[in-house]
Symmetry: C2
């Protein structure tokens, strides 16, 4: 038994009252779950989660994920008890400049490890953290016995009914079962209320049975006793909950799922069990009623017993100190015993590239027949395997198509999940996400946030649509995730319109905080990888071709390292101030080069600019930008086998945009390029049209 004292009980009730007051003061927010989950949250922070109230970034901490992020007060109030927040932060909930935004935001509030809000995302990202933990342990401390490594930690996820409905949680939970992740505990708060009130109208499944089907360790903690009878009772049996959590952690080869059956907003006298309490302030009367119910002064707001607070904070500080002290000693011993691992850890934490990176990067000779940039990317990954052990990744069931496998590296798999094609071990390096793009994206975010490895994941560019929620959260959270998106245009050919990206480049460029990089040939691909690995704080989408692209002749053109600036003059043309500028990306760069040569034969001085990354180019100073795209040259053409959206910015009023603004078709890719106007002739004609406008 936990042996909770009156102080603990008072702390839990204080959390309920603070939640009600905070939402009431702001006038909007989500009080219900914060009130009824207060015992769970307090239990986790007080007795379960290993963390250091003096150091929110401590490497050895367990991770807490609030997947039902709208209930941010659930976490904020515990952070207040930790000492990371003060009472004034709670009372400034959801206001400009506060530390307590509507949903938890990593990098914004100390003690928050993950930005949540979009339902289900926390479940999937937390599972990603658990996967990261296992790989990190395998990378830095593989020999340690279970539970004996400084790299061991546990991930606790709290989720609501809405999270359980979202497909991304299903995807990740299925994979977690396959991966036998014993280091994650998912607590599903089943209060059967969502925004449309009683979930009976849309959600009648047997969730524990579903998690059994996924292969999880499944437990149910029932607080709603005699439910469905005429005399339902509600007993917040925290001991039973604690026992379920602790028993679940002993199951090392399965993730643990605990369904905790609660009544939302309990014990608010009238609001309990109602949909209204989910997402609206309770109202003055009800807040007072709640306070009376709990023995608080109904006329006071934000009432916190200072003695209780001091006791709770002291207990947490003491617990932190004990955990931290033991860990510090263990860490020092690990450092001593593992000088190479220590160096690697230092380098990765400092965000530095390995010394041998440049030497390891492959390069290619000029070759008209060429090589697909996806294939070049695969060769880069394999070449980097040894020098960059922190790099790892895989694909959403398209490994061979995405070229995401580093040759010879083991798969990240439980031993009994190996197959004839894929050998591996639990510490392996090649990830197999299955056909689950959104879960992949969320998992990459989780791995990136754990911070001790560098993850990538691949699918077809068209299926970036499926992972868009994860990509956006990756950008919001400044995750160092790398998306390998191949089959980047109608050039992929026969699979047809459902597989051919059109709008994707434009629509991904629209996402703030995300870099989209589309190299023109194999050498640009290698240089782009180097840049991406050197950069931090933004996810990156690598846009790669299915079809072979000529390897450009760098003896007559500029070097591929020009990609570092996002855009560079690839072919200067016959005048230093050209008549026309052709701007192209990826597979269309070689078309622009051919067009420029034709224009030159017609006496038109044509410059070719390769622009693999609009975002990197935007970072450059005005002088460099002017050098590449002189304002005086108003005759311009852009060529990209995607939507025209956004190109007017670069070609200007007089420019012409060679693009495709309709869906593709099923046929050979070369045929499609002809039919849909991605030819040197079309570019020449566009250049002439633009020249006629200036």
């Amino acid at each position: 038994s936990l042996g909770w004292t009156d102080t603990d009980v008072r702390a839990v009730d204080t959390a309920r009252v603070l939640a009600a007051d905070a939402v009431q003061k702001t006038g909007n927010g989500h009080p219900g779950t914060a009130i009824s989950l207060a015992p769970l949250a307090y239990l986790l922070y007080q007795n379960v989660i290993v963390h250091d109230v003096a150091d929110p970034h401590w490497l050895g901490r367990d991770r807490f994920v609030l997947s039902n992020g709208h209930s941010s007060l659930t976490q904020y109030i515990q952070l207040f008890f930790d000492g990371f927040l003060e009472k004034s932060d709670i009372s400034s909930l959801r206001t400009w400049g506060s530390k307590t935004p509507g949903h938890p935001e990593v990098h914004h509030t100390q003690g928050i490890d993950l930005t949540t809000g979009p339902l289900g995302s926390g479940v999937a990202t937390g599972i990603g953290m658990a996967m990261a933990q296992r790989r990190q342990r395998g990378l830095y401390d593989p020999a340690a016995a279970p539970g004996e490594s400084v790299f061991d930690h546990h991930v606790y996820i709290v989720a609501g009914d809405g999270c359980m409905m979202e497909g991304v949680a299903s995807e990740a939970s299925s994979l977690a079962g396959t991966q036998q992740l014993g280091n994650v505990t998912l607590i599903f708060d089943q209060n059967q209320i969502s925004i449309e009130d009683d979930t009976d109208i849309s959600f009648s499944e047997d969730v524990p049975k579903r998690y059994e089907a996924y292969g999880w360790d499944v437990r149910v903690v029932e607080w709603r006793t005699n439910h469905g009878t005429t005399s339902p009772t509600y007993v917040e049996d925290v001991d039973a909950l604690f026992a379920a959590i602790e028993e679940g952690k002993k199951v090392l080869d399965k993730p643990t799922f605990i369904m905790l059956r609660t009544v939302i907003a309990w014990p608010s006298p009238k609001a309990q069990g109602t949909g209204k309490s989910h997402g609206s302030a309770l109202g003055d009367d009800e807040v007072k009623g709640l306070k009376r119910e709990l023995g608080f002064d109904p006329e006071q707001t934000f009432e916190v017993d200072e003695e209780m607070l001091a006791a709770v904070r002291k207990a947490r500080a003491e617990r932190s100190r004990l955990h931290r002290q033991a860990w510090n000693e263990q860490f020092a011993a690990w450092q001593q015993a593992n000088p190479e691992g220590s160096q690697l850890l230092e380098r990765v934490q400092a965000g530095q590239l390995p010394a041998g990176l440049d030497a390891a990067l492959p390069s290619w000779e000029a070759d008209e027949k060429g090589i697909a940039t996806r294939a070049a990317s695969g060769k880069v990954l394999t070449a980097l395997a040894d020098v960059m052990p922190e790099l790892w990744g895989g694909s959403a069931d398209l490994a061979e198509s995405n070229n995401t496998t580093m040759a010879g590296q083991p798969s990240f798999l439980p031993d009994d999940r190996q197959t004839a094609m894929w050998r591996g071990n639990p510490y392996g390096r090649t990830l197999h996400f299955g056909v689950r793009e959104n879960a992949m994206g969320m998992i990459l975010n989780g791995i990136a946030l754990e911070g001790l490895t560098r993850p990538y994941g691949g699918t077809f560019l068209v299926f970036s649509d499926y992972m868009r929620p994860a990509v956006r959260l990756g950008a919001i959270q400044q995750c160092d995730a790398i998306y390998v998106w191949t089959h980047d245009s109608i050039g992929l050919g026969e699979d047809g319109p459902t597989h051919q990206p059109i709008e994707h480049l434009a629509s991904l460029r629209a996402i703030p905080g995300l870099d989209i990089v589309r190299p023109a040939d194999a050498n640009e691909t290698a240089q782009v990888w180097k840049q991406v690995l050197a950069r931090h704080g933004r996810p990156t989408g690598m846009i790669l071709s299915r079809q072979a692209l000529p390897v450009l002749d760098r003896s007559t053109m500029a070097g591929a390292d020009g990609v570092a600036k996002g855009a560079y003059v690839l072919v200067e043309g016959s005048k230093s101030t050209p008549d026309v500028i052709l701007i192209a990306t990826g597979s269309e760069v070689s078309i622009a080069v051919t067009a420029a040569a034709t224009l030159e034969t017609q006496g038109v001085a044509a410059r070719v600019v390769s622009m693999p990354c609009v975002e990197w180019f935007a970072e450059q100073d005005a002088a460099y930008q002017e050098q590449v795209l002189p304002a005086a040259v108003r005759a311009r053409v852009s060529v990209e086998a995607g939507s025209s959206l956004g190109w007017r910015e670069f070609v200007g009023d007089a420019g012409k945009i060679v693009a495709i603004d309709h869906f593709g078709a099923s046929a050979d890719g070369k045929r499609l390029f002809q039919e849909f106007g991605f030819t040197a002739e079309a570019v020449v004609a566009a250049a002439e049209a633009s020249l006629a406008r200036v």
Copy 2:
């Protein structure tokens, strides 16, 4: 027992050989599943699916959905047996202009009811068709006994391992359980092979158990007997499969899930059971081996026994005729007995609006305090409920926020799923999708493709990301689906960056074949609804504000019916050729109006253009476009609380774009508009800056 003859067996084997030959000829494609699923496909088309080989659009037909669309040959070869395709179509697989693209495409190939390819999408869309069927029956023929209506039909979905991994299939399947859809049968071809070979590496769950958890009728048909032993055998027990299908159809209050355990590519001698056979041509030797195995001439390609073909086609034609004849009689009787229903059906099939629409549309008096466009939209829906019975919809658990409920209309729910808040019946009108945006989008497509009702579905604009795969498929398939996307900018306020759309308007406008409409006030909202309902062949996103917007004074400004042209001159300004044009959408239009007034006081003639729909404006002739945006006026400002991407096209080189290209924050929406520069002052300053450039 089915009593299949030698002709049937030969037809099945011919299907296998044609599949192998077609992929071998093209050089790429997916032969494996088409070979091993030939008995299933033939069984369905020959003995199960009610359809008319003389009329692919017959109202009374069952629907067939191939969710594993890459195996398009599975369906194409049956369409060849139907007579919708010829052998030359099969042999021109995946080539320019053929009727047999890489993935099935509705509107492109007769007999295809759904475009598939993105895995899982067919499962969810097929479930949408089943939901549509129930509503259609309730709308047109509610009194008929079960199985006795001309509007009764069944939906058959075939899916593979990859479909079962995708979250969208999970979402829709859970909802199908809640909805107790007895009119859908999902056959899961479990061959345990996906592109990364043996699915053991990523997919180990117990799928039938999961479907039991969803509340489905679950059956397993085992063709891999003695599996896992040293002497595995494979018996294509078509009778057992047929029995499972027929028994499942007798369960009227649950959808049926049948797991059919197969060996991919069976009986190809070497390719069977391999990952390679999934997505690559088998190779000449293997194709010959398959032919030998089946008693075909290995030296011939596309060998079809004419006698067999004639017999199969004759049998299908005869079966069609019997079904059709009975249905025609029944339909005539229904028409006679239901003159009102018949009129409605005729009007809906003709794509016409009801006569009373204009009279029913609400309008609003000028009002500075105003009303949110989401609220206005809700009033429009309620006002249209009676005059437009074919219109129905709901929300992904945000009904009250999205204002998607027509007041007083019953929910679409099994009787025992009603709650205190939501009363309804199986034929009800208000849809409850749960927190499942992507499934909602797919279901809307299914409803639209069924064609006898007009569906809409709501969520927050930011969560359009979750449903993007469905939206794209809606656009590809020219579905008349309406997306009600509310909470359309940082103006939503406190929920913060995870809930505030930034890039969404731009990224949705990038999708071909989709209209994005953002009305400026309540009256534009009503007029926009009218336009959207009058249009067909493109899905539409309605972009609506959370916050109240002033109802513009139409006595001093142009009428709201100007929205029909996508953009119109709202405020003319003091000169017929203005000094500057302010282009705005949605909540920013009233800001632009204020800014124009300020500019006029400074002696600058400022025109305000309201541009609710870029796509509709692009449809107008050049004269109208020139009238609204005269080329001579180069000083221009755009104002939209979203990404700047795309606006250069309208403001030109000299223009200024008032936009937001970073994530938002959690605070009051008005504060955010101030902090992030969406004010009349900022617009005036931008106008001055643009004027300085011309």
